[in-house]
């Protein structure tokens, strides 16, 4: 582009002496949001693989979702994970008022519900494997297990994070670093719940589970 001959007035700013520090919290949360995008792509890859494998040929004589999963148990899990997200989110209201008790209480309730969710999921997989439909039996089952276990591992990582945040908040309170981390944790937790909803709708309901 051809620009006009540059003109310099007394008002032209050449150096930024003020406002050099960048917004710490928003940079952290934006960066974490980008990480969640990459995580979403990991799940997209797994969902795509699942969609490809969701056919009798890949099931190799074993049942598909409608013969393996229970829609009502899945619904219970959905409510548990949504309840967990609700607790963590209500707790995070404490960040506005500096209410440490509310933040930690919300995290504790959310963490317990998250652990219950994982226990539900893992016991479902154990029942499936015990009935002869383990992850090694067919390509389809491998995909189903990979999708569910990847999600459960994310939830488990979130639990570790919740535990770590208890230590951090106890030691440093709700300073900028901990606020940024708690906001990221809330995003992470909400994202995993959204992934679960997609799993429930796509794998359970579209798959014809009863």
């Amino acid at each position: 582009m051809h620009s006009e001959k540059p003109t310099l007035t007394a008002k032209t700013a050449l150096w930024a002496y003020e406002g050099e520090e960048h917004d710490f919290i928003s940079t952290r949360t934006f960066g974490f949001w980008l990480y969640l995008l990459s995580d979403a792509l990991i799940f997209a890859g797994l969902f795509a693989s699942y969609a490809v494998m969701d056919n009798p040929m890949s099931a190799f004589g074993h049942p598909l979702a409608n013969g393996l999963l229970s829609a009502s148990r899945g619904l219970i899990q959905t409510f548990i994970v949504l309840g967990s997200v609700f607790s963590v989110s209500v707790g995070s209201l404490g960040l506005k008022t500096g209410n440490k008790g509310l933040v930690l209480g919300g995290l504790a309730a959310g963490g317990l519900l998250g652990a219950l969710f994982i226990w539900f999921g893992v016991s479902d997989l154990q029942v499936m494997a015990a009935a002869g439909n383990g992850p090694l039996e067919s390509g389809y089952l491998a995909c189903l297990y990979a999708l569910l276990i990847t999600h459960a591992l994310h939830m488990g990582f979130g639990l570790l994070w919740i535990v770590a945040m208890f230590v951090h908040v106890a030691r440093w309170g709700l300073d900028a670093m901990n606020t940024a981390r708690l906001l990221c944790l809330r995003m992470f937790w909400q994202f995993q719940a959204s992934v679960w909803v997609v799993i429930y709708v796509y794998v359970y309901l579209f798959g014809g589970a009863h």
């Binding site: 050099e20 490809v52 890949s58």
Partner: protein
């Protein structure tokens, strides 16, 4: 439920036995001796000059984006040499092993490499050149230049940046160690499926390949997050989106590709890993496995990866061509739009890598047309560079020579790419060396642009220019080698030579093979000139002055030369797209008159330690050493935990100290040793 492995396994060493060391191989043993001697000399020199502390504090623990960039580029150049030697070995094999009467040496029936060894070499060549040479070179350039171009002190997440670097190093180290311990994959750089499965490939080669790529691509994903956050959040005041230099724009599009494409590779390789380690059936031939799923997943990453590499090259051209044409870049907004179009369309063309593997005509039509559309934004870019040169006052310094040949190579590679995008042509030349010659032209675009960038920005980082005369010798020998290798390769491809031949059965191809061998030897001369250029320039170290080329345009040239470790003494307020040339024309100040304290992040040894731990983890997984896998996994989690308790928020350089540095800029160079600085000075800056 681990898969049972072939051969011996012990709890202490896993699959590792003395037989894994190829001590009787006549090619690897001398290589090992040379590498070991070079390593000993390097370590000895560090100890003799008592530089161990300096290297640990100033480099291995550094979170400075420029030092990280320099280390990326060193890694890239070393791996580029390794990849070149692989190429030399392949060409030499094909130049000897032609026809049934060809001689055999060193235990090979024809040529000097047994087929299994040859297969490992081309697999390593592809993996190294794309993942461990081109990617670190371009990532390193982005690391150095982007924060300077946007007027930032560092990347948005300096610690994460160091972590990305050391993860890439860990992956590269796995590839390198596979040369001396065990074997590398023989299943090509893409991982042929189901050949990469345990049933047909029971050795450790595929595991080495898989973990090396997996580890370094996680580093690349992190780096992409960092680049996007840096450009979105850290721009200097006054730098609106349409004052962002084109190189930073393409780094943004590249990082968006990196962020979205690399996770797909992570999925593909993880599922392959589950197959190989736990015995699932994602990609096996049987039990409901579907190997086309792998091929699709791989290329859904693989094609965007190609644009991940070529877009930064386009960005370099958009900086170098205006500088040496003494004109503003022609069509800046269309350049930005074209970068985003290329990045977007890059997502819709993956299936053109396997037109012949059972697609219906509808899919072929879609992917064929989508591929052709890529030519439109690429053409826009090529014409913009030409119009930038048109009526410019062009001078032919080496960066400009590299930039111009890069455009020529883009034309050759692009037009042959258009031919291949037509599926009817692809059906007849697929899997021939015509395809190989096409994509080598494209990666030479990247290579040429990377050399242009290294030479162009070298004085910014080092404070002296590279020797122009030797640079031109390097350039012309490199180009002569390229012509001699790849023109015959196009012809041999059209004559019907297929890819990856350890033995060329058709003796009519002999002249092509010999021309290519001549070319690859001319390349050897160009490697020599490159090394000579480095040595002579380092020896002479002629100070480049504040304006090394006399024609610089972008904001990065507003820093002092060599660039100090704090980048800008005072953050500039940006007024124009080409800020430096704008200030020169307007007669505005290039240097501040008053200084303020500077806040910088502290270094940390944890990223380096994490990288070493991940390397040990990859090695343990490859050799299935269970206890080491568990130990290194726990160490990884522990390092993340320890880091979360590190509340060190950097240090402050007082204004007087900045002034002293500015008065004697060499003391602030990234190579100058800095005093140890205390912690916890945050708050005093305001």
């Amino acid at each position: 439920m681990q898969v049972a492995v072939e051969g011996p396994w012990s709890p202490l060493l896993g699959r590792l036995t003395l037989d894994a060391i190829p001590y009787n191989n006549p090619i690897i043993v001398p290589t090992f001796i040379v590498a070991a001697l070079a390593g000993l000399v390097a370590v000895g020199a560090v100890l003799y000059y008592k530089k161990l502390g300096y290297i640990w504090r100033e480099w291995l623990c550094s979170v400075d984006h420029k030092k990280i960039g320099v280390m990326y580029i060193i890694l890239g150049l070393v791996m580029l040499f390794r990849g070149y030697v692989d190429g030399l070995m392949m060409r030499t094999q094909q130049a000897i092993a032609i026809g049934p009467d060809s001689p055999g040496f060193l235990g090979a029936k024809h040529g000097y490499l047994p087929p299994f060894h040859f297969d490992q070499i081309y697999s390593a060549h592809g993996t190294i050149m794309l993942i461990f040479a081109a990617t670190p070179l371009l990532t390193g350039l982005g690391n150095i230049i982007v924060p300077l171009q946007i007027g930032a002190r560092d990347m948005a997440f300096p610690y994460l940046n160091a972590t990305s670097l050391w993860l890439t190093f860990a992956g590269a180290a796995l590839v390198m160690i596979s040369l001396f311990v065990g074997e590398f994959s023989s299943a090509t750089w893409v991982g042929l499926m189901p050949y990469s499965e345990m049933a047909s490939n029971p050795g450790v080669g595929v595991d080495y390949w898989m973990w090396a790529i997996q580890i370094s691509s996680i580093g690349t994903t992190f780096n992409s997050i960092n680049i996007i956050a840096t450009i979105v959040k850290m721009r200097a005041p006054g730098m609106t989106w349409f004052k962002l230099p084109v190189f930073s724009w393409v780094q943004l599009t590249t990082a968006i590709i990196g962020l979205t494409a690399f996770p797909i590779l992570t999925v593909a390789l993880t599922l392959l890993g589950l197959d190989r380690y736990l015995g699932t059936h994602f990609f096996t031939a049987g039990m409901g496995g579907n190997f086309m799923l792998y091929i699709n997943l791989f290329w859904i990453w693989g094609h965007p990866e190609v644009y991940f590499l070529v877009l930064p090259a386009f960005g370099v051209l958009s900086e170098v061509v205006p500088a040496f044409s003494r004109k503003a870049l022609f069509g800046y907004p269309t350049m930005v739009a074209a970068s985003f179009s290329i990045a977007g369309i890059g997502w819709m063309v993956w299936a053109h890598h396997f037109f012949t593997m059972g697609m219906g005509p509808d899919q072929i039509g879609f992917f064929s047309a989508a591929t052709m559309i890529v030519g439109i934004p690429t053409g826009v870019k090529a014409f913009n560079w030409l119009f930038t040169m048109y009526r410019g006052r062009i001078s032919y310094e080496t960066p400009m020579l590299w930039a111009m040949i890069s455009i020529v190579l883009l034309l050759i590679g692009g037009l042959t790419g258009m031919m291949l995008s037509a599926s009817v042509i692809d059906y007849s030349v697929h899997d021939s060396v015509f395809v190989v010659a096409h994509f080598h032209c494209m990666v030479l675009v990247i290579g040429a642009a990377a050399f242009a960038a290294v030479i162009f920005w070298w004085p910014k980082v080092f404070g002296f220019k590279l020797n122009e005369t030797l640079g031109k010798w390097f350039f012309w020998t490199f180009i002569a080698g390229s012509v001699l290798v790849f023109v015959p390769m196009f012809m041999a491809g059209l004559a019907g030579e297929t890819r990856r031949l350890d033995y060329v059965f058709n003796t009519a191809l002999a002249p092509y093979m010999l021309w290519e061998e001549a070319g690859v030897l001319v390349y050897l001369a160009s490697v020599g000139f490159f090394v000579l250029m480095l040595i002579v320039s380092l020896w002479q170290r002629v100070p480049a002055g504040e304006s090394p080329w006399g024609t610089e345009r972008g904001l990065e040239w507003l820093t002092r030369t060599p660039v100090p470790f704090y980048n800008f003494a005072v953050t500039p307020h940006v007024n124009a797209l080409d800020e430096t040339s704008w200030r020169r024309e307007a007669g505005a100040a290039l240097r501040p008159t008053r200084y303020v304290p500077i806040h910088l992040p502290h270094g940390s040894g944890l990223p380096f330690i994490l990288g070493m731990d991940v390397f040990a983890w990859g090695f343990a997984l490859t050799w299935r050493i269970d206890w080491l896998i568990i130990l290194t996994t726990i160490a990884m989690i522990a390092i993340v935990f320890i880091r979360s308790f590190d509340r060190n928020e950097g240090f402050i350089i007082p204004a007087e100290e900045v002034e002293a540095y500015e008065a004697n800029i060499n003391t602030a160079s990234i190579f100058a040793e800095q005093p140890k600085r205390g912690h916890g000075l945050v708050g005093e800056a305001h």
